[in-house]
């Protein structure tokens, strides 16, 4: 359960449209209409006993502990299911009520082990509390009768136990799984006394359960209990912080014992997650104290030399001297830096400042280059701001959603649960994805349209849909003419209405029947509020930016921007993708998306930073690699990013890294990139530092330090030290001062400060004089760029074509239990769910190649070859295979190509022509990987960690 130090109001809040006045125990109380008597009492400070009710779930009325008396009514209604009515007079305590409640408790306790002193919930158990408040003194029935006290525990889930002897069958867990998570994994089996809770046919691990933890929070007893609490006991204090995994940015309470985390619990007041979580944030935090953590700085002059453990001072001095040496020899522009979307805003800001002011060039880029850079370009061009338009709560008002190139149940699980809630309540759904992702059909949710397009044809599909809308008179002409540039609209309209963009003309190319394209377009255009959600299946294409603009076109032409329920919503992969982009990580932009060519902006920064800023864009990540190979780029500082594993065309990346004279890697583990490094600076996990993350809805939330940095320095302090050693001292005592500087220099952040975030909980930028409390929905009155701009989005087929030699298309993605390169999640029990990357292939393609389920197969492209285990599944369409890149040894990026988005160079991870061959052994690359890994292992100091060497 939640900590009993957090108040539980018993039933959910109701929106305050109308209010109702009543009396509870003689006290006048006014609450929103629809509020339960139980909640109204709690709001007035009167805690009515309860067991089956909790404020995250709708009332159920089964335990009969919350009975009250209402003047003028007969009987004893349950206060959780009774709504407040005007003038009602409620009595919560009387002798009769006390007797009734004691009777209920007596029955519960007669079938409950009395091992409270040794129970892990001791001190935080609602049953125990209720026994106390109802004054239970004896249990007359004894244990002699039938009971459940011998039922075995289910310990199959690595993170929590299910001990049925403690279960009171209140069904809070079942309802949490249904209502909040939407997985419907739990059932109440049997009836009456014989009823029990069951997860699937055998146990939790083998059930549909996705380990979100909602049932564990909801359980009022120790039946469902975190194993960390079983092992370590109850926490002694808690600190509010933010999940460091995906772009949903869930708020958490880190529950602590001293400086040790014992549990992470989603924060009920978290505005992104409203008390929900997924397996990663809730349970997969053990990596932070994993023995593989690098805790001592190390240096070496060649990557074939043994590592030498040194002091921080020596490591920093060496790194700085190398940067200076390289710049003196090869010129100022021969070095650069890479910021990470896994780091805080403040850290990212400091790295780009270090590059621009300390290195004196603009060679700074971020891993968003390889994920959402097309979002930045596409949305800035069309709408005027490089960010999603809505908050997550907006989905409550959505009538029809398009999900394109995103797999929210795996990639953005907490928001997927919100989507499913809305879909169960009646919104319609269009899924545009080559795979039949889970959202297409989950319990009580079915997509109205699944358009299983061929990878690489997003633009064709979106153009065809827009064609239908324009030619069938479904465009919102009034909205468009008022809000958008009319001449551009006319140009676009002529283009889109041309027969080449009709569904019939494009169906062969995109593989989606024209009738489905027409049906989906009509459904979306005619829905009241239409919202588009998208992910990397949109951006990671040679037409990534074009697709983002086609999405914006579709939203504008249907009038779906500028109010709750609508909008263009990029689902960001990593926790701080939005933030790292906002902070000026791109080589052409200073913080706040302002081009380095703008003299006024440059002047502002130059004055504050005290150094001139270059007026030309620097190198992007793939350009840095090319320049490294051609010998003009020699030094690189990488903070918290594993480019050797995550970037495409691995062999090319390896060659580039080998060409560097100084690679400085700052990471919490010896990641793949670190194996090519000359300086290794230990990083700090999100638990070890202060800062902020900005999630997919532009929400800036605090990350709070709950333990000291394991290696002694927080990441921001390391960047500051490096800058000082380079001769450009920065003066900060705390990350809050970095945020103050960001606010000073960035118009969309002028109202942001740590004090205000503490006060409001979180802030969605823009936050300034015009919007002092932040901006949940953008472009309300007008677009940020003034008028919305339609852009002609011609479909251009990817250069990556299937051939006789490579007849299949490989597309890549993520799974729920692992995160990005897996450096964190592979070091947790999440590996129980996914201990290796696999290749999903359709039965037809498998049969043709003589491939059986579970065998090792060779995956080959014109770039390279690797070996994976095959999973034969009808989720795939024939001709398309799929895998993930969570494990370095699978070498998926050995196969991916150098093709990239025309506008931003975001790599085309989603389309690679491949062949799959049965009965494979490790590929040559994998054998090379193994031997390089063991060579690098041999170069580590004996005392040091092993890291990702295997």
């Amino acid at each position: 359960m939640y900590s009993n130090k957090v108040q539980d109001f018993g039933t959910p809040a109701r929106p305050a449209a109308k209010s109702v006045a009543l009396q509870i125990d003689g006290q006048p109380v006014t609450v929103p209409a629809g509020t339960s008597v139980l909640r109204a009492a709690a709001l007035a400070g009167v805690n009515i006993p309860k067991l089956c009710a909790t404020d995250s779930l709708e009332a159920f009325g089964s335990c009969r502990l919350c009975l009250v008396e209402v003047e003028g009514r007969r009987g004893f209604p349950a206060s959780c299911t009774t709504h407040c009515e005007p003038g009602m007079k409620v009595r919560t305590q009387s002798r009769k009520l006390a007797d009734l409640r004691r009777g209920v408790m007596e029955l519960y306790i007669s079938d409950h082990p009395l091992d409270c002193l040794t129970c892990p919930a001791n001190g935080n158990c609602e049953l125990q509390d209720m026994a106390g408040v109802t004054g239970l003194r004896e249990v007359r029935y004894g244990y002699a009768g039938e009971n459940h006290l011998a039922a075995p525990k289910d310990e199959s889930n690595p993170y929590f136990t299910f001990d049925p002897t403690k279960c009171i069958v209140c069904s809070r867990c079942v309802r949490a799984c249904d209502e909040i998570q939407g997985t419907f994994a739990l059932t109440v089996q049997g009836r009456g006394f014989g009823s029990t809770i069951a997860a699937g046919p055998t146990n939790f691990l083998d059930s549909e359960c996705v380990s979100c933890g909602a049932c564990v929070q909801a359980c009022p007893t120790s039946t469902l209990m975190e194993k960390s609490i079983v092992d370590q006991g109850q926490p002694d204090h808690a600190v509010d912080t933010t999940c460091a995994y995906c772009g949903v940015g869930c708020a958490f309470r880190a529950e602590m014992k001293g400086s040790e985390v014992v549990r992470m619990v989603p924060h009920k007041d978290g505005k992104a997650n409203h008390g929900h979580s997924c397996i990663k944030g809730r349970f997969a935090w053990g990596y932070a104290t994993h023995p593989d953590r690098v805790n001592t700085p190390m240096i070496r002059s060649k990557i074939t030399d043994p590592w030498r453990e040194v002091s921080w001072d020596e490591a920093i001095a060496y790194a700085a001297s190398e940067i200076k040496r390289i710049q003196a020899r090869y010129g100022k522009d021969s070095v650069g830096g890479i910021t990470s979307s896994r780091c805080t805003n403040e850290e990212t800001y400091l790295v780009q400042k270090l590059v621009r002011a300390g290195f004196g060039n603009n060679n700074v880029d971020t891993c968003a280059r390889v994920c959402h850079s097309p979002t930045g370009y596409g949305l800035k061009t069309t709408l005027g701001e490089s960010a999603g338009t809505q908050d997550f709560d907006s989905v409550e008002h959505t009538d029809c959603m398009i999900v394109i190139g995103a797999n929210p149940t795996d990639g953005h699980p907490v928001f997927a649960s919100r989507m499913k809630q809305r879909l169960r309540a009646g919104a319609t759904l269009i899924v545009i994805d080559p795979r039949r992702i889970d959202l297409v059909r989950t319990p009580h949710v079915a997509a109205d349209f699944h358009l299983p397009l061929k990878p690489g044809t997003n633009v064709a599909v979106l153009n065809a849909m827009a064609h239908v809308i324009v030619t069938e008179g479904l465009a919102r002409e009034g909205y468009v003419r008022e809000r958008c540039e009319v001449d551009q609209y006319e140009k676009w309209k002529t283009f889109i209405a041309s027969p080449k963009n009709s569904p019939e003309a494009l169906e062969a190319e995109c593989g989606v029947p024209a009738a489905s394209l027409r049906g989906a377009a009509r459904l979306f255009a005619k829905a009241g509020n239409g919202a588009i959600y998208y992910g990397l299946g949109v951006t990671e294409h040679s037409q990534g930016s074009t697709t983002v603009m086609a999405i914006a076109n579709l939203a504008m032409v249907t009038g779906n921007i500028g109010r709750p329920g609508v909008g263009v919503n990029p689902l960001r992969g990593q926790n701080n993708v939005q933030g790292s982009c906002d902070m000026g990580s791109f080589p052409h932009e200073l913080p706040g998306y302002r081009h380095v060519g703008d003299a006024g902006v440059r002047e502002l920064f130059a004055t504050t930073w005290g150094v001139p800023i270059q007026d030309e864009p620097g190198l992007r990540i793939p350009n840095m690699f090319d320049a490294a190979i051609d010998g003009s780029f020699k030094g690189l500082y990488v903070q918290g990013e594993d480019i050797a594993q995550s970037d495409p065309d691995t062999k090319h990346v390896q060659k580039a890294l080998e060409s560097l004279e100084c690679l400085i890697v700052q990471d919490i583990f010896l990641c793949e990139t670190a194996k090519y490094a000359h300086v290794l600076l230990p990083g700090s996990s999100f638990l070890e530092k202060d800062g902020t993350f900005t999630n997919a809805e532009r929400r800036i939330s605090r990350v709070r330090k709950v333990m000291p940095p394991l290696a002694g320095m927080a990441d921001w302090e390391v960047t500051v030290a490096l800058s000082r050693a380079l001769g450009y001292p920065m003066h900060y005592d705390h990350p809050s001062q970095v945020m103050d500087e960001i606010a000073l220099l960035t118009p969309t952040f002028t109202g942001v400060s740590y004090d205000k975030i503490d006060r409001l909980g979180s802030i969605q930028w823009p936050c300034n004089d015009a919007a002092p409390d932040g901006t949940p929905v953008m472009h309300e009155q007008e677009f940020v760029r003034g008028k919305g701009r339609f852009v002609v989005t011609e479909y251009v087929a990817t250069p990556e074509r299937t051939t006789r030699k490579f007849p299949l298309i490989l597309t890549t993605g993520r799974i729920l239990s692992q995160y990005n390169v897996g450096a964190q999640t592979r070091r947790t029990e999440n590996k129980v769910w996914h201990d290796a990357d696999v290749l999903e292939i359709h039965p037809h393609d498998a049969e043709q190649r003589g491939i059986t389920h579970g065998e090792m197969v060779s995956l080959q492209s014109r770039k390279g070859e690797t070996t994976l285990r095959a999973v034969v599944t009808e989720r795939m369409q024939p001709g398309v295979v799929y895998t993930t890149f969570h494990h370095p040894e699978s070498g998926v990026n050995v196969v991916t190509t150098e093709n990239s988005d025309w506008a931003t160079n975001c790599p085309e991870y989603k389309v690679t022509a491949v062949q799959v061959v049965a009965h494979a052994k490790k590929s040559e690359w994998q054998r090379g990987f193994d031997s390089f890994a063991s060579q690098q292992e041999g170069l580590l100091p004996k005392t040091a960690v092993r890291g990702d060497v295997r």
Partner: protein, 77 residues
């Protein structure tokens, strides 16, 4: 840098602007994009490749580079 890659990148940009009905706007678009996002050393090399015959360059790229050479030519550094 890898000249072939630079040409491919420029050609990809030109392919996007090919849908622009007004040729002048398309050429401005191509050149403007390259100026805005490409580091000077990349632009310098692209122009050198044009001068060396522009092997593999899409006609629109050649035209755009020729028409907007002054914009694209980086100050020497």
């Amino acid at each position: 840098m890898d000249g072939k890659k630079l040409v491919k990148m420029a050609n990809d940009i030109a392919a996007f602007f090919a849908a622009e009905p007004e040729p002048k706007v398309a050429l401005e678009g191509i050149a403007g994009h390259i100026k805005k996002f490409w580091a000077p050393r990349m632009r310098r090399e692209l122009l050198a490749l044009l001068d060396a015959g522009g092997d593999g360059m899409a006609p629109a790229v050649r035209e755009a580079l020729a028409a907007h050479r002054r914009l694209l030519q980086p100050a020497t550094r």
